[in-house]
Symmetry: D2
Subunit: 457 residues, 4 copies
């Protein structure tokens, strides 16, 4: 350990402190990013005439060997390797000799780690985008397949108005589409180069930072070295993005869990995404969805964690910032599971159209009756009041609205006429909502087309 | 109260329930947005031939009168007004008669409130942008004024390398510049029209939603009515934006509080932003900065609050979502204070350049010595080790590095030569960092120019 | 404003800073506690011979007048009153003359505010205890009234085993009983005296702190003055207590919302705790419960807020701590609503026993069948597997378990015999669970008796 | 996997779902608790005549062998072991044959896991108590050793009044003493038996739950089976306890980091708890303290995580609750590091008494001067104002208060007399605060004695 920073120290690090301080148990996954960053930096050192081309070649060869060792699962982490960067530097020393000692010239752990983390996250965002697109795609497909299925639409978990099942499902597609847009924005925040910022004050060796950015595929440079080594906004952005995604998935899970209860019975979750009970032989539980919903806690907690760690710390690097990685890694890992699991659940869902249809109460059409009276000339507020009383009577007499005779309707308002019963039709009600974003078939098909384009990227 | 939804109810609302349910104590501030939304909707109803032009005129006149009453602080909220929307609807009934009862045709509280909140927040974002720009501007001005002031740069609150005071201050300018960029993105998320989505299933009256969007200045339409009435992502986006801004302000506060302690003494906070003690007559406390730092809790709490409220609720509108407003309002109010207060603090800061300079330890130049040895051919890792030992000797003998004689240097490495002392110069060290984002004067001036453009918008 | 701490200041406070700094808009509610604390301190000053008995009398008279003014709603807050303590001190000066200037001798705003807040919270905890007890009491009453109602018990929102309705309801009673126990513990943390700690270093005037504690009813003294002025643990304790209470209420709300959907139909929420829809005349929404559930966000956010504000601030008083009051006040106010609202909801609940009974699936008895086979000698794991297959057959053939003929049972296991059908009885299943905490009537009645004692205090 | 709950399933679990659902990667650490719980349950089954004494012996032998395998690190987890409970059950089947299939009779995964987690946490609390006591003990020791060291006491990070160094350090001792008290209370919440609650409805086999409690050392029984399987309050209690502990440690870290900056220079952190820089050879960074402070984020995040996961889920067991373990485990692991690391830091701290003394400004005595005038008869508020002006003059003329001549004092108030300079003494000021909790030596020694008793337990 003393190799990296020990010259000035006389006492040894306490054993427990070493364990406390070391990060290799979790930052080992930055290995590929670390090698990539070092490859670029070696070339930049050569271009700035800090190292010779022979030294540069030695470094690049050594780094290539280390990459090969990792790929072959043969890289050995030693007890003194406090983090992945030390481990690779130590190994590079063994492979490339003196040149290895030059790779850190003008580079600090601070700009190195910041660069590695951005490189790593940038690569992780790509599969997350794909997962989002695939989830949108299965939503769109199910919506299309079941375009004609009608269902009670709910507000406050009470039957509200008739909708298409597909309209309900697509509502989540649009939320996920926003997630896709915001993920692009997060990506832009991530894709900024810190390398060349040194410990805090910049690089004194004439390193060409634009070359580094080009080499590493960053679209811009950190413009202030103190900010560049300390900036964790891109992680906070990512974590809050993830918390919002999970918020969507938690509500979709909730709907699916309720709709697949035996009391609702609208849907069945596939055996592939359910589990049973160790005690009760009949149970089939939607564990997949409960876990997705539950993991909203973990992701929200990760966001909170970094906001707390970052709060009120002095500028530039403080060791508090080492606490950025585990919430980030855990969040990436969580979303890399919850999104595909939800995709699988939706893809394999059994939809019970007849059960949905039978469950629709005639009261879902109360608004139609109010609209009917409006069309006959009654102001809406009065119409609402009249229909409220009709509904109350219907509840007391246990008659569905379509069974209430015209004479009874007329007792509430003389405006009711023979055509009233033609309005009490779910299909008609759904088709009347034909403006953008409504439940009419054409409007829903337009959604399907638009979202499919987003899913296709 | 029964006027809006009472027809179907036989029992009265419990008194405490009314208090619990009512939101007018906080949503009254949506009054202007609510009127604006209703004006557009009245016109849309006329265009769809749901109301006559006389009725439309009556509504617009009534709404104009209500706006005038609010502006003159003469609008009277009555005991039965459960929220601002009911209050305005009630008053409109008094002013516009029967036409008022038609304004709610095809419109639900759900799409109305969602529209109002977006209209309101859209208007609040503009001054926040201005506040951000002004804060960046005073940072840039102070940086320019003190461009020649040198200071110890810190990592881990330990002296690290010499920097320019302006470089430190500008590091916060760049963080705030990111906040500006992200606020633009939040604005785009906010600026989407929900109106015309009804309670959950869309509008059945042939309302022209594009007309509504144009009239209200929204750049796009919500594409799914169920999503449109329930979507609170734009609030979560805003709250997480605010939490990150406060994270920046909390660190800037921390630095300023520490730098203005009598032990550091680099800065003095103006009397205008300080307060005293009721017991200790000598005290001048940086209360402004402590409050800014402390309010990071409130803003983070508001973000957590809405994430928790939103977690796992079923789709479309549930009353849980009424809990979106207070965190949003409180966050807007908080940022509308913390940003200008910080601007005032920075603007009126007294900077003690000589105290900063005197506090600079010779050890800030240890990296220079390592670079010196690197230039003489020693690999950086070995140079680091040599200088570590030099520093230890310097600490033990209480000699600054510039007072260590050449002979002593040579005892650590034969590579040391007469020119070593010329490297032990703060200005030289600062000027060596001349790459993009470094501490050299030219590099800092480039930052100033770039940031000023951002501040100017 | 300059009266309290201005002597050392030459510049004026910025206008916006005054608004930012002032706390009287929310701390005014500490008025009674502040007067009470000052009354005790005036007496202590007299006992320490710092003021004369005439001065003490003048102070007590003045304070009594101020209390009367507040009680009569006649106390006038002036523009320069930055907080309730300054306001009262200013008014006391008007009423008691020079003596008022002596009340602050040896007392600081720091120990004063800490004392006031503890006094205030101590008084607020008492009604919260009563609210908790009342909620437990209505739970117990409903459980007793409906002791014979059977219901499907759920895990994973899937029917699991038959239970008593009262057993389900009482499960929340026990959670609330823990809340009662923990509230007692919080009370002990609150009930510690800070007064006499000065700004940070204690009292130099021979004040008798034990007298203060006795006078104010505190059960112990803060043992370190620096800790005493900064300690906010009791608020954090209270906030986390509240977050856990809300966690219970949120789950109870969730159950009630689901059970009162038309698809479940087990319960009806009273009109008194429901609201309707502005658009849909038939709607009766469980807004009370959704608000309770939603307010879990607010309370969790308040806890987060103070944890963030407190994180990493230096010892003793920092202005960040002024941010303790709003989360505390809001949490007290919230619980003072959510608990009685839930009490009202439970008290007025209509329970549909027949609907509950009809909804019970025969599969709730699958575990009985497994136990049956166990009694016949089959190890449980094998019995579980056999019954799993029986259930699958029952699903495919759409036969309830009680309609499956013995011959069919025998085809799964020769151990089945004539007595199998006697096991397929909900009442029997419920009565079999007769150990402590089980569903048997006697066990549930024992719960009712035990909880009633807790509710009675 | 199908062995535990597969009978009713026809489709296989999706591969990714298996990974998603499995918990053995983290719940393996419950192995010992799981064996202990099963041992007790086996005996209870025998006592209830559900299994024979031979079967009971087979189970106990098998469990003993499994324990031995774990202790020898020889237990093999297989691919199909979804959690530690399945793994142990599977292995028990291999070792104990048919009897193993009977161990689950009347026991569900729900009551089993709840019992295991409580058993595990109960054991983990004990070392945490010891860590707390040890930290208090080193605080007390350092306070005693340095009882005579005077230091500036700070509020708002500005010098406020003179204190003893030990008084400052002990202030944290009292905060930790509260943590000890609350940990005892958490322990009581943990120590309640769920076993015998089955999946949700209790135990039908006449299991003696009191026997189980006695055998497993639980002090009480869960009184409602539905509550018992779902209750996670004890984990929330523990997590909020931990968040408050970390709040204390974060402030202590902050103080130590600031006090060990070169500008303050009051303290030096031992090499054993510091690390260096890879770039800057002179750096010695207080990484230990920054990590402790930073980990407050993680612990607060863990609390948030479980509050979010628990919010609004239906009663009894839902898979969301599987998310309780990782935040719990991580929090235990974190505190098991931060507490001993802080103990090590405090124990090895170098205290620079002379530097502390020299840094004390004469303005620390401003309150003494005000008290002086009070003693001469001036009301405190007027005295405060006079001294404010004295301080301002002192700042302008750059004279310490002790160098201001009597004539100058008299120009501010005729009450000043020759004895004024005797009041300007740090020791005298500190000794004047001799009430309980003050800075006088006797008062601090009383704290030391009292806290030492707490540390000794």
């Amino acid at each position: 350990m003393a190799t990296l920073w020990g010259g000035r120290f006389s006492g040894a690090t306490a054993g427990l402190m070493r364990t406390f301080n070391n990060s290799i148990r979790f930052d080992v996954r930055l290995w590929d990013a670390d090698i990539t960053g070092s490859e670029a930096y070696a070339q930049a050192l050569e271009r700035a005439n800090i190292i010779s081309s022979a030294e540069s070649a030695a470094l690049l060869n050594g780094l290539a060997k280390i990459r090969a060792e990792f790929n072959a699962d043969q890289f050995i982490i030693e007890a003194n390797d406090e983090d992945i960067h030390s481990a690779i530097e130590r190994r590079l020393g063994e492979l490339a000799g003196d040149a290895a000692g030059k790779l850190h010239t003008g580079r600090s752990r601070n700009d190195q780690v910041a660069t590695d983390t951005r490189l790593w996250l940038r690569e992780e965002i790509l599969p997350l985008k794909t997962h989002l697109r695939q989830l949108i795609a299965v939503i769109v497909n199910q919506a299309e397949t079941h375009i004609d299925a009608l269902m009670a639409g709910y507000t406050h978990l009470q039957q509200a108005q008739p909708i298409r099942f597909s309209h309900w499902l697509l509502s989540y597609g649009w939320a996920l589409e926003r997630d896709l847009t915001r993920l692009e924005q997060v990506y832009q925040q991530v894709n900024v180069l810190p390398l060349g910022s040194g410990a805090l004050s910049g690089n004194p060796l004439g390193i060409d930072r634009q070359f580094l950015a080009d080499e590493l595929g960053f679209s811009s440079l950190g413009q202030n070295s103190m900010d560049a080594v300390a900036d964790r906004d891109y992680i906070l952005d990512f974590l809050s993005w993830a918390a919002i995604v999970q918020s969507h998935l938690s509500s979709l899970s909730e709907d699916l869990i309720i709709y697949s209860s035996s009391e609702f019975g609208y849907l069945e979750i596939s055996d592939a995404y359910s589990t049973g009970s160790s005690l009760m032989p009949q149970k089939k539980n939607p564990d997949s969805l409960e876990l997705i919903r539950g993991k909203t806690g973990r992701v929200t907690g990760n966001l909170t964690a970094l906001l707390v760690s970052a709060k009120g710390i002095p500028s530039t690097y403080n060791k508090d910032l080492q606490e950025d990685k585990e919430p980030l890694f855990d969040t990436v890992d969580t979303l890399a599971m919850t999104l595909p699991i939800m995709t699988g659940v939706i893809e394999t869902l059994t939809i019970n159209q007849s059960r949905m249809y039978e469950a629709m109460s005639s009261h879902l059409l109360a608004t139609e009756l109010a609209d009917y009276l409006v069309e006959k000339g009654l102001p809406f507020r009065q119409a609402h009041d009249v229909i409220g009383k009709v509904v109350q009577m219907s509840l007391e007499t246990e008659q569905p609205l379509w069974s209430v005779p015209l004479s009874a309707y007329k007792s509430f308002s003389p405006l009711f006429d023979r055509d009233v019963h033609t309005w009490l039709d779910f299909e008609r009600a759904v088709e009347r909502r034909d403006s953008v974003g409504g439940t009419a078939k054409a409007a829903v098909l337009a959604q399907i087309e638009a979202l499919r384009k987003k899913a296709d990227g």
